[in-house]
């Protein structure tokens, strides 16, 4: 009996040892996979306990912050300015994060700021995780004004400060209220007008006549055309059998520069053919239209692998080929002309700060880049001034300020719908300007875009002390 007891005891001990090993396996080997599983309810709970950082505008106005209910310790995210939604995005336990909330999620949650030992201590003591604050370049008064100006349209407006490339306002309509996201998610995500889509950064549109600044700039840079060149031919053209009109209601244009100022397509179709695919393609790349601009928020660009400039050379000249652009990219084009051919890098987040610490500046998203020679850029500037003065962009004028701009139409979709574009800028000091890009979907009157561009510029310029 003793020997069988001994064997039984040994057997049971082995099984107990296996249990101890299995415990170690689940905690040490598989621990991380298990804890990070989506169906681990502790994650949501832990998330609710985080004191997420604030998002502030350039003047340190609080745009978003977290409020912790003292009763149950559950944290709520509060958004004070629904108009900033396209930039700030949203934070939802159910639907995740978007915008700056997503791009700076790690900072806002307080991740990556603690040393290893601090993190262990925090974990051990179940201390509340406190996130960093994030300051963005938006000026909320300008953002609100621009958002209001755009209300009722479907489109986007981007306002950039030059030469530092800081985004002062970025509006996209229709938009959403991040404070009521969970309740409205179903409607928002199925709405055909796509209010959750940030049209400014991720909306890709035919540039149409708005690409003329790039095409003409390339021709000037390569010395194959001049604005004073006489123009005797047709000014409108047809795309897919539909008339593609000028931006302004004109019946003729005397010169190439004149055609630019009123946004007539036909001369640029021919100019593109004259330039050839290589030179035109180089200019497109110089203006960064071939790739998503480096930016805090996700950006989009046309996929140049799906079409060839060579095959669609003439169409590319009038901005109706496979080359599509986002309003943000066009705002950069405007900014490049504002700074004599120098395109600034974009900047949205200015600084971050750990709770209780000082602001740590954040560098811009990328580097400045050269586009055209200063002479060519300044020539275009002259034409832009003329466009506001007597061309298609007259509505963009802001009293008391000099505004340069260019307005164009683009054909969108098979039904012959027209989108309106405006790019422009105003220099309010020898080396500072405000650049703006406007896109309005389904707006055959191009001067609407110019008007909104002018209002947006006025909103900034009148706020400048």
């Amino acid at each position: 009996m003793t020997s069988s007891l001994r064997r039984l005891a040994a057997g049971l001990l082995v099984i107990f040892a296996i249990i101890a090993l299995s415990l170690s396996y689940w905690t040490l080997v598989r621990g991380v996979d298990l804890v990070t599983r989506d169906d681990n309810p502790r994650r949501v709970l832990a998330e609710q306990q985080i004191l997420r950082g604030q998002i502030l505008d350039r003047n340190e106005v609080v745009l978003a912050e977290t409020y912790v209910d003292p009763e149950d310790g559950v944290a709520y995210r509060i958004y004070y300015y629904p108009s900033a939604a396209p930039v700030i995005g949203y934070y939802s336990l159910r639907y995740g994060v978007g915008g700056v909330e997503s791009a700076y999620d790690d900072h806002l949650r307080g991740g990556g700021q603690l040393t290893y030992s601090e993190e262990i201590l925090q974990d051990l003591l179940h201390r509340q995780q406190v996130g960093s604050d994030v300051q963005i370049s938006l000026d909320i008064t300008i953002q609100q004004a621009v958002n209001e100006i755009l209300e009722g349209y479907t489109g986007a407006v981007v306002v950039i400060h030059v030469p530092d490339g800081q985004i002062l306002a970025l509006a996209s309509q229709p938009t959403f209220d991040p404070a009521a996201l969970d309740e409205n998610w179903e409607a928002l995500s199925t709405d055909p007008d796509a209010p959750l889509l940030n049209r400014a950064t991720q909306g890709l549109y035919q540039p149409g006549e708005s690409l003329q600044s790039v095409v003409l700039g390339a021709a000037l840079n390569n010395g194959i055309a001049s604005p004073e060149e006489q123009w005797r031919g047709a000014i409108t053209t047809t795309v897919d059998g539909r008339l593609f009109p000028c931006a302004a209601n004109v019946s003729y244009a005397n010169t190439l520069g004149g055609a630019y100022a009123v946004g007539c397509p036909e001369p640029f179709r021919q100019l593109a053919v004259e330039l050839g695919a290589h030179r035109l393609g180089t200019a497109i790349a110089d203006f960064g239209l071939d790739e998503p601009p480096p930016f805090t928020l996700p950006t989009e660009a046309a996929d140049l692998d799906t079409f060839s400039i060579e095959e669609e050379l003439a169409l590319t000249g009038i901005g109706q080929s496979g080359l599509t652009v986002s309003p943000l990219q066009m705002a950069l084009v405007a900014a490049a002309f504002a700074d004599h051919g120098q395109m600034p890098p974009l900047q949205l987040v200015l600084a971050t700060r750990r709770s209780g610490a000082a602001w740590q500046p954040v560098p811009a998203d990328g580097l400045p880049r050269g586009t055209l020679s200063r002479a060519s850029a300044d020539t275009i500037e002259g034409l832009m001034l003329r466009s506001v003065d007597e061309g298609a962009s007259q509505m963009a004028d802001v009293s008391g300020f000099t505004v340069a701009g260019h307005t164009g139409l683009a054909m969108a979709g098979p039904e012959g719908a027209l989108n309106a574009w405006f790019i422009g800028y105003s220099s309010y000091s020898p080396d500072e300007s405000i650049a703006v890009a406007v896109l309005l979907e389904d707006t055959p009157d191009a001067s609407e875009a110019a008007r909104i561009g002018g209002l947006a510029l006025a909103a900034v310029l009148n706020a400048v002390p």
Binding site: T2, L8, L12, L23, W26
Partner: protein
């Protein structure tokens, strides 16, 4: 220790006292920590005072009744039951009062075992009475059983008395151990020594294999009628282990395990509840949100504990359904971490080893030896079944973790078992001491029995 033990009983009692104090420190510290973590009022801790009272009373009374008892058993069950009480207060606060009442009843019942006369004839003589009583209880449950959750589709394994529920299979388990110890003590020799030759195999005579098959059939019936996978496998495994120890023949163990697997396989095809448990064990991941929810949540809880645990009252084991009875081990792993869970495993292992050691020392008295074996094996296998189930080593069976889980009947039967164990250990030390005083008795017999 078996040879050099002094005649005086003081060292054992002293040792037990030291260990009890350590257990009390652990339990009280945890209770205080829980108090702060859950922000409960100070008087919410009164159950722990009852617990301490039970332990002190047991220690003092046993010093008089069983001065030569094993010094490890009481501290270990004290620690486990105190820990269990903390867990019930943590996981299911409304049940804490009920649990502590059961703890007092169980301690008293355990102490009662110390009064059993040395021959334990009461237990041996009436073995069939005990077994029939157990089966009668079970039969009553089959017809009038309820489930405290009120779910009419859940297995109805309880008998209700007002607000108290009683699980007869726990008492049946105890009675079964007593019956088997008595039966095998008388019959095991005959089972081994009268084989029937069929070809080249030595098979035991059918008259004695009969009980094995009967037992197996009984467990299968239990499985079919009550869908109580846990009790059925537990009973059968206890039976196999005791048969193995009494006969010394591993063949029974092997055959029995094969029979168990066969029954399991048949159950898999015949009963949804078995299939569900086996499927959820084999590959829970695809059905983590549905049928395997419990086991996956249990593993997540174990993983969230890490090495040191989240701390008492600071984890979130409440996400596992019925955590306070079936998944209490996962809750320990989450809040006390790997260290705590391995600690509980070690405590249970120590308890089992102590029981088998007591059995080995009682080898001269087959009944007492088998009784201690049965108790050790019952506690051990039950712990292994539920810990293995929680850790996805074996399919989950809804048995309790002895001394720790919420459940009055389980606590009662476990404490009675512990009481019997202490009774046997005291007797054996007395026998030893007497033998040492009269060296004429051949001590080699002790090992050969």
């Amino acid at each position: 220790m078996s040879t050099g033990e002094p005649v005086s009983s003081t060292p054992g009692i002293h040792r037990e006292r030291v260990l009890l104090v350590l257990a009390a420190i652990f339990v009280i510290l945890n209770r205080v920590a829980l108090q702060f973590a859950l922000e409960q009022p100070w008087y919410a801790s009164w159950p722990v005072i009852v617990w301490a009272g039970c332990l002190i009373a047991s220690h003092v009374l046993l010093n008089r009744l069983l001065p030569r008892r094993d010094p490890i058993v009481l501290p270990v069950i004290g620690l486990l039951s105190g820990w269990g009480l903390t867990l019930v207060a943590r996981l299911a606060p409304p049940f804490a009062v009920r649990q502590v009442i059961w703890l007092a009843i169980s301690s008293a019942a355990g102490l009662l075992m110390a009064f059993l006369p040395p021959g334990m004839r009461l237990l041996r003589r009436f073995r069939y009475t005990w077994l029939l009583l157990g089966l009668l209880l079970l039969a009553i449950t089959l017809f009038w059983g309820v489930n405290p959750s009120g779910d009419i589709y859940a297995p109805r394994l309880w008998l209700g008395f007002g607000i108290f529920y009683f699980q007869p299979s726990e008492i049946l388990k105890l009675l079964l151990v007593v019956f088997l110890a008595s039966y095998l003590a008388d019959k095991s020799e005959i089972i081994v020594t009268t084989p029937v030759k069929i070809g080249c195999w030595n098979l035991p005579a059918p008259a004695y294999t009969g009980p094995l098959l009967l037992m197996w059939g009984f467990c299968v019936i239990l499985l079919i009628w009550q869908r109580d996978l846990g009790a059925a496998s537990l009973f059968f495994l206890i039976f196999l282990a005791m048969l193995y120890v009494s006969t010394g023949q591993p063949g029974y163990l092997v055959t029995g395990l094969i029979l168990l697997l066969a029954a399991g396989a048949a159950g898999y095809w015949m009963f949804d509840v078995v299939r569900l448990r086996v499927d959820a064990w084999w590959n829970p991941w695809p059905e983590a949100g549905d049928r395997a929810f419990q086991i996956v949540q249990s593993l997540i809880a174990v993983a969230s504990g890490g090495i040191f645990g989240q701390g008492v009252g600071l984890g979130k084991p409440g996400f596992i359904p019925v955590v306070h009875s079936d998944f209490v081990f996962a809750a320990i792993a989450e809040e006390w971490g790997l260290l705590g869970a391995v600690g509980v495993t070690a405590c249970l292992a120590i308890l089992v080893i102590r029981a088998l050691r007591i059995a080995a020392r009682a080898a001269d008295h087959p009944f007492r030896a088998l009784l201690a074996t049965g108790i050790g094996v019952s506690l051990g296998i039950q712990s292994i079944l539920i810990m293995g189930g929680v850790l996805k080593l074996i399919p989950l069976t809804g048995v309790t973790l002895p001394f720790v889980s919420y459940g009055g009947s389980s606590l009662l039967s476990s404490f009675i078992m512990a009481g019997l164990l202490l009774r046997v250990s005291d007797l054996e030390t007395r026998v030893k001491l007497r033998r040492k005083a009269q060296p004429a008795v051949d001590t080699t017999q002790e090992l050969s029995a």
